[in-house]
């Protein structure tokens, strides 16, 4: 298999947009191509993530639509849907296409628009990623899924609401350093703890927002990458799944798909968790960040809450997590999230992250979770 590099990244401002998801992706993709200093005429395929386009925009077939709006309609395009992990799943398949020698230049990205519908409607659409027969009929929501995980984690390890709140405070602080972030305001521990319950024990400030946005990255073969200014190498890209139904999961305090995908990624790259300098992970809810830091092997199972509270995952801490502000503050345009996380890690490894730069970042990790913890992607990146 050939080595694969990311040579360009682009991300729109995250937040509310009066533009379609494909337009948002196209803006990010044009920025990524400009950043890569490569002509759109060289792109041989598009791997695209979009989740609720059918629901919020009455739009299927978003792969070719996104390519058309970008202005490169003739290339093969495929839309990936693995709930919130969609563009990270798209990325993994694009890596395989370049590694296999099928293409030399491939575009990966995603776009999502949800703020054009009211919250009870978007809450319903997001719940479509849980089981329609067994779970949606109960009125289960995504905050509800992670609340069940939070309660199990609290019960088993003694994790506290204050420890979860510390994740929100940290990610909002990081978000103030990211001009693309949806929220650029610090919040206090007290604000988080006094915010209204959405699904006990999770409160409003434990939850990431609904977000419109787009993100894209340009992947190339080593040969093409060697002619670019600052390639970042894909050291691994791995996926894993788990039971769809919450009732089928043996231990709700853990996410086996994260543990499996991480193990596969570390093995591919020949690295261990201690080699990782900077992490962008899937903090759709504060508890999700705590459980992910454990599943990725950064901390022992049950130690993630205390680590967050002690500042170990803050910028300047032992292992900075979500310097971009994470899904919590940067925002979560679900189909674009995986690509946006990769864009942040590439920016960090290039040393171009400005005030949120992690010192001496040489190895970075991205982790994206889809739906009720049934899909997880983990990728590792390095620089020369």
């Amino acid at each position: 298999m050939r080595r694969v590099a990311v040579i360009g990244v682009g991300v729109t401002k995250f937040g509310k947009h009066d533009r379609t998801s494909s337009e948002l992706f196209a803006e990010a993709a044009a920025d990524a191509l400009a950043d890569a200093e490569i002509s759109a005429s060289r792109v041989q395929a598009l791997y695209y993530g979009n989740v609720v386009g059918s629901e919020t925009e009455h739009q299927l077939h978003t792969g070719p639509q996104a390519a058309s709006i970008l202005g490169i309609p003739a290339i093969p395009t495929t839309r990936f849907e693995t709930a919130c992990a969609s563009s990270h799943a798209a990325f993994r398949h694009a890596v395989m296409e370049v590694a296999a020698g099928v293409s030399d230049v491939v575009l990966v990205g995603g776009g999502e628009r949800v703020l054009n519908v009211p919250t009870p409607e978007s809450t319903e659409y997001f719940a479509y990623a849980s089981d329609a027969v067994w779970e949606q009929t109960l009125g289960l929501t995504f905050p509800g899924v992670f609340a069940l995980i939070a309660r199990a984690h609290m019960q088993k390890y003694g994790t506290t609401e204050a420890q979860m709140a510390a994740v929100a405070v940290k990610n909002h602080k990081h978000g103030t350093l990211n001009p693309k972030a949806q929220f650029q305001k610090e919040i206090t521990l007290e604000q988080v703890l006094k915010s209204a319950y959405v699904a006990d024990p999770l409160k409003l400030f434990d939850c990431c927002p609904f977000t419109d946005g787009g993100a894209a990255v340009v992947l190339t073969s080593e040969e093409v990458a060697r002619r670019s200014r600052r390639p970042v190498w894909v050291l691994a890209s791995a996926a894993a799944s788990d039971w769809m139904l919450l009732g089928d999961k043996r231990d709700l305090s853990r996410v086996p798909a994260t543990e499996r995908a991480a193990a596969a990624a570390y093995k591919q790259a020949g690295l261990t968790p201690t080699d990782v300098d900077v992490v962008e992970l899937h903090d759709c809810f504060t508890i999700a960040e705590i459980v992910a830091t454990e599943g990725l092997g950064l901390f022992e199972p049950g130690a993630g809450g205390l680590a967050a509270e002690k500042g170990m995952t803050s910028l300047g801490g032992a292992i900075p997590v979500n310097p971009s502000g994470g899904l919590k503050a940067k925002g979560h345009p679900i189909g674009a999230t995986g690509a946006a996380q990769i864009a942040e890690i590439v920016t960090q490894l290039r040393g171009e992250a400005g005030p949120r730069q992690v010192d001496q970042a040489r190895v970075g990790l991205t982790h994206t979770l889809g739906g009720n913890t049934a899909t997880v992607l983990v990728s590792l990146f390095g620089r020369d």
Partner: protein, 126 residues
């Protein structure tokens, strides 16, 4: 073609009458609910339906206060993962238990949740 031992439709028809049904693998003895085509323990296709008592304890629960649009009139309502005494778990809506009495470990019993043509899993007081 092998007939499925129990289809979703048949499962919910029985559930509607208050009967909870699992499947037991005729090869390795593994128990599953809801029914699956293959045994996840031994990959064989030798299920037999087995009645479950419907008794269990709450393994985790949440009180949902921001609901999908079809359920906004129900808030606040609780959803719980219940570990059945046979060892398998099911997600269900909590009924007839005050929200402030919910606790991990609380014994509960299966109650069908019937709304028009739709049947879902509920759990009420033991």
């Amino acid at each position: 073609m092998t007939e499925p031992v129990i289809t979703l439709q048949r499962f919910f028809a029985r559930a509607r009458e208050g009967r909870l049904t699992g499947v037991r693998c005729g090869k390795c003895g593994a128990l599953a609910i809801p029914p699956k085509e293959l045994c996840p323990a031994c990959y064989e296709r030798a299920w037999e339906p087995v009645p479950l008592a419907g008794e269990g304890t709450i393994a985790s629960y949440t009180v949902i206060r921001v609901a999908p649009r079809a359920y906004t009139a129900d808030v606040p309502y609780a959803v719980a993962v219940v570990k059945l005494k046979e060892g398998v778990s099911l997600l269900g809506r909590i009924v007839e238990i005050p929200l402030d009495k919910l606790a991990v470990g609380l014994p509960v019993r299966f109650r069908p949740l019937v709304k028009g043509d739709q049947t879902a899993v509920g759990f009420g007081p033991a």
